[in-house]
């Protein structure tokens, strides 16, 4: 089960991605084992086609549901870093940020990406329930007295 999750997490960096991809894999396998005509998106099919054969071999008709239950339980235990961004990242940006995070921290770290335009630039994080702002807004707030004094020099 851990092998499966490790394989999936190699190119899956966000919580949303993980949930979507797990759902796609589940749908695909159920269709394979039990039949059905549920259509899947090209991006899902593309991702599924890039998965190693060894992963598929771990699923059987009998364990498919149980294995997914275990995977979902394991997902709940994964560390999640909430990242507030000032732009909406595309797949490539997510890959770049995710890779950087994985390189810098743990390989199993998941990102929960959220949008906050009030940050102006940069980002803010929530880690284990604690918020920390590393954005330009925080820097402005930090330098507020200095900025006001500079403005006052012009006003007086």
């Amino acid at each position: 089960m851990n092998d499966i999750l490790t394989i999936i997490l190699k190119d899956t960096f966000t919580l949303t991605q993980l949930k979507t991809r797990l759902k796609a894999l589940k749908v695909y396998l159920i269709k394979e084992f039990f039949g059905g005509d549920i259509e899947q998106s090209p991006s899902d099919l593309n991702w599924l086609s890039n998965l190693p054969q060894s992963l598929y071999q771990q699923f059987t008709k009998d364990n498919v549901y149980k294995t997914f239950e275990d995977i979902e339980e394991a997902v709940h235990t994964l560390p999640v870093l909430t990242v507030y961004l000032t732009f909406e990242p595309n797949e490539n940006s997510l890959y770049q940020i995710g890779s950087f995070v994985r390189k810098l921290y743990a390989t199993s770290l998941l990102l929960d990406i959220k949008l906050d335009l009030n940050l102006l630039a940069g980002c803010a994080f929530v880690w284990k329930g604690v918020f920390r702002d590393y954005s330009l807004r925080a820097k402005l707030e930090e330098k507020k007295p200095e900025i006001i004094n500079n403005f006052k020099k012009f006003l007086r």
Binding site: F87, S93, F100, A121, G122, L155
Partner: protein, 217 residues
């Protein structure tokens, strides 16, 4: 004649005629006597009336003559008394006139004296009043000058305070809004000017800083 007696109707008629004649003559004489009596009574009455009238006229004449005398006497008396009265009244009026003239002269004199005294008193009071007024005016001017100076000072102080308050309020408002204005301006500019690479670099920088600060462990 026998023939007549033999006819009773004629006899009766003759008797009745005789009786009627007798009664007529009797009545005639009776009336004649009465008329004469009446005539005599009338004559007497007329005479008596004339006598009475004469007596009355005499009496009236007497009365009139007596009345005229009394009237003349009364008029004389009244005339005398009226003359006395007029004479007395004239004296009284003359006396009263004299008194009135004397009173008026006295009054005039007093009025003149009073006027003189009043004039002197008024002049004195006016003089005092002017002196007093001069003093008051001088005091008032000094006080007004002092008050005006104080008032101007207070007004200036108030205006200065007002300017200071306004200035502080404006500066406070600017202080409060400078950052918001800057944020808004930066938000507009950075959205357009900041590239994806720059954005990603800022994220990497933040991640590294978080690691240095051991925020993410």
């Amino acid at each position: 004649m026998l023939e007549l007696l033999q006819q009773p109707a004629i006899l009766i008629s003759s008797i009745i005629t005789l009786i009627a004649l007798s009664l007529y003559f009797d009545e005639y004489f009776e009336r004649k006597r009465s008329s004469e009596t009446q005539k005599k009574v009338f004559q007497d009455t007329k005479q008596k009336s004339a006598e009475l009238l004469q007596a009355a006229e005499e009496a009236q004449t007497n009365l009139l003559s007596e009345g005229n005398f009394v009237t003349k006497q009364l008029i004389q008396e009244y005339s005398d008394k009226l003359s006395d009265l007029i004479k007395n009244s004239g004296n009284s009026i003359n006396s009263a006139q004299g008194q009135l003239i004397a009173f008026m002269e006295d009054l005039q004199k007093r009025s003149s004296d009073f006027e003189e005294a009043s004039k002197i008193s008024t002049e004195k009071r006016i003089s005092q009043l002017f002196e007093h007024l001069e003093e008051k005016l001088s005091d008032f001017l000094i006080q007004t000058e002092q008050k005006t100076a104080t008032s101007i000072e207070l007004e200036l102080k108030s205006v200065r305070q007002l300017i200071e308050t306004y200035k502080n309020a404006q500066l406070k408002m600017i202080d409060e809004n400078i950052i918001a204005m800057m944020e808004q301006t930066l938000s507009i500019i950075l959205t357009k000017k900041l590239s994806l690479k720059d954005q990603l670099d800022l994220v990497y920088e933040a991640l590294e800083k978080a690691k240095i600060e051991k925020f993410i462990v």
